[in-house]
C-alpha cells in the first residue's frame, strides 16, 4: 500500500483490523512465550510468604469496566490465598462493583467446594460489600472493622460471624491485597492505611494506573504489583494456571503491535506530506 493510499485510509479499515487482530487469537491462540517480571514475582512471593491460615484483607475496588484485567488476577489471588487456608475479609469501595466482586468470590469458592474443600461463609471468608465514603471508610476501618461495616453484604450482623470475632481492626490482618481500577483504590490504601496503620500490602491494578504505583513499589510501600492483563497473565504463569488473562495475551500482543504500526505509519504519511510541502 502506497503512502498516498495510507493518507486517505478510511478509519473503518483500522477498526476492522483491530477487531480481527483481537478476535483471531481469541479463537485460535498463538501461544506466544510469556516471561515474568519482578513486580509480579514479588506479588506472588509476598502471598506465598505469609503464614498459612492468616487473616487477609482483600479490597476489590473495581466495577465491570475493569473486568477483563482485574477479575482474572482476583481469581488467581483468591486461589493462592485459599490454598494457604487463609481467612479472608473482602470489601468493595466502588459502587458498581459489589455484584461482580460477589460473583467472582463465589465462583472461586465453588471451585474449592467442587474439589472437596468446603469453604464456609462466615468462617473461611466474609464479604463486607460496598460502603460509600472512599478514604473515610478506610480510616474508619482502622478504628474498628465492625464500626465501619456493622453488616456484611448478605445483611448478617458482622459481630455474629465466627470469622469476624477475631477481627478488630487492621492489626488483625497480616496483609492487604488491593485490586484496584482507580479512585478509590491502591493509592488511597497506601496513603491512608499502609503508612498510618502499618499494614503490608500488595496491589493488582489496571494497566493504565500501574505507572502511578511504581514509586510505591520502589519505596517498599507496596510489596508486589500486578499491572493489567499482562500482570495477571504473568501471575497465572507463575501459579501454573491457564486463565482468561493468559488467553487474552495473544490478542493484546497483536493489538499493541498494530497500534505501534499505526503510530509509525501515521508519522511516515505526515513526514512525506511535510517533505512534499517543502519542495
Amino acid at each position: 500500500m502506497s503512502l498516498t493510499a495510507l493518507e486517505r485510509l478510511d478509519r473503518r479499515w483500522i477498526f476492522l483490523a483491530v477487531g480481527l487482530l483481537v478476535l483471531g487469537p481469541l479463537l485460535r491462540p498463538l501461544g506466544l512465550p510469556l516471561g515474568t517480571s519482578a513486580p509480579v514475582r514479588q506479588f506472588h512471593d509476598t502471598i506465598a510468604g505469609i503464614p498459612d491460615g492468616s487473616l487477609v484483607l482483600v479490597s476489590c475496588d473495581f466495577d465491570p469496566g475493569g473486568k477483563p484485567e482485574l477479575v482474572p488476577m482476583t481469581k488467581t489471588a483468591l486461589r493462592q490465598l485459599w490454598e494457604k487456608r487463609c481467612r479472608l475479609v473482602i470489601t468493595c469501595l466502588w459502587v458498581g462493583g459489589p455484584g461482580l466482586v460477589g460473583e467472582t468470590l463465589e465462583s472461586v469458592a465453588d471451585e474449592f467446594r467442587a474439589k472437596g474443600r468446603p469453604l464456609e461463609y462466615g468462617k473461611d471468608y466474609v464479604y463486607l460489600g460496598f460502603k460509600a465514603g472512599y478514604e473515610a471508610v478506610m480510616v474508619l476501618m482502622g478504628k474498628g472493622i465492625a464500626g465501619a461495616y456493622p453488616q456484611d453484604q448478605r445483611g448478617n450482623l458482622v459481630s455474629t460471624l465466627p470469622l469476624m470475632r477475631n477481627v478488630r481492626d487492621y492489626s488483625s490482618f497480616v496483609l492487604l491485597v488491593s485490586i484496584s481500577a482507580g479512585y478509590p483504590g491502591t493509592k488511597e490504601w497506601v496513603q491512608q492505611v499502609n503508612l498510618r496503620f502499618g499494614l503490608p500490602m500488595v496491589s493488582g491494578c489496571t494497566a493504565v494506573s500501574a505507572p502511578e504505583y511504581y514509586p510505591y513499589l520502589q519505596s517498599g510501600q507496596l510489596s508486589g504489583l500486578l499491572g493489567g492483563m499482562a500482570g495477571a497473565a504473568e501471575y497465572e504463569k507463575i501459579r501454573g494456571e491457564k486463565g482468561t488473562a493468559t488467553q487474552g495475551m495473544d490478542a493484546q500482543s497483536l493489538a499493541h503491535a498494530f497500534i505501534a504500526l499505526c503510530i509509525v505509519a501515521g508519522n511516515l504519511v505526515q513526514w512525506r506530506k511535510r517533505r512534499a510541502a517543502q519542495s
Binding site: 455484584g99 465514603g133 474508619l140 465501619a148 505526515q270
Partner: protein
C-alpha cells in the same frame, strides 16, 4: 453569618481532625471517629443528591426538547426503573436470581465493558491520525510509548528474542518504568502532595472559599 458560620465550622473541624491525628487520647479520637462516621453518611447522601440532580437536569432536557433529548429520556427511564426494581427486590436485591442482579449482569456489566472495549478501536485510529512526532520531546515520548507498549506483551520479546537479554523489549520497558517514569511520577506525586497540604491549609484558614459557592 451565612458565610462566617461555615468558615468557622470548617476551621474548627479541620484543626481538630489534624490534632486527632497526632494526639491518640480518647478525648480526641472518640469525636474524630464520630466525625469520620458523619463523613461516610454525608457521602452516602451525595449519591441520593447526585441521582436527584441527574433526574432534574435530564427531565428538564426532555421537557425542553434539548439536543439529543431521546438519550436523556433513556437515562431517566433507566434510572427510575433501576430504583423501582431495587425497591421491589428489597433488602436481598443483590442475591442471585433477583431482577436487580439480572439488570446488573445483563445490562450494566456488558454495557460498561463495551464502552471500555471501544477504546481499543479509537486508540488505534488516534495513533494513526494524531500521534505526530514534530519535536525531539515528542520523538522521545513516541519511542518510550512504543517500547513500553511492545515490551509489556509477549510480542515484544518475540521480536527482540535474538538480542542479549538486557536490551530486549521487556528489559527496556522495565527500565523505562523503573527509572525515568518513576522519577517523573515521584516528582508529580510530591508536587501534588504539597498542593493538597497547601489547599487544606487555605481551606482551614478560610483563604480558599470557592467550596462555599459564589465568587469571593
Amino acid at each position: 453569618m451565612k458565610r462566617e458560620l461555615p468558615l468557622f465550622l470548617t476551621a474548627v473541624i479541620g484543626l481538630f481532625m489534624l490534632l486527632s491525628f497526632f494526639v491518640p487520647h480518647h478525648l480526641a479520637s472518640v469525636p474524630a471517629n464520630y466525625l469520620q462516621q458523619c463523613a461516610v453518611i454525608v457521602v452516602a447522601f451525595g449519591y441520593v443528591l447526585g441521582g436527584a440532580n441527574a433526574l432534574r437536569v435530564n427531565l428538564e432536557g426532555v421537557a425542553k426538547r434539548q439536543l439529543d433529548w431521546p438519550y436523556k429520556l433513556v437515562l431517566v427511564v433507566a434510572l427510575v426503573a433501576t430504583v423501582v426494581v431495587g425497591l421491589v427486590d428489597g433488602r436481598r436485591w443483590q442475591d442471585a436470581g433477583t431482577t436487580s442482579m439480572f439488570l446488573y449482569n445483563q445490562l450494566y456489566s456488558p454495557m460498561q465493558a463495551t464502552m471500555f472495549a471501544l477504546l481499543a478501536f479509537f486508540i488505534a485510529s488516534a495513533a494513526f491520525r494524531a500521534f505526530r512526532v514534530r519535536t525531539v520531546e515528542a520523538g522521545l515520548l513516541a519511542a518510550a510509548a512504543l517500547i513500553v507498549m511492545l515490551g509489556r506483551v509477549p510480542v515484544g520479546d518475540a521480536i527482540t528474542g535474538w538480542l542479549p537479554e538486557p536490551v530486549r523489549m521487556s528489559a527496556l520497558q522495565e527500565w523505562i518504568m523503573n527509572v525515568p517514569q518513576n522519577a517523573a511520577k515521584r516528582a508529580i506525586l510530591m508536587g501534588a502532595a504539597m498542593g493538597v497540604m497547601a489547599t487544606g491549609l487555605r481551606v482551614i484558614l478560610g483563604i480558599e472559599r470557592s467550596y462555599l459557592g459564589g465568587t469571593d
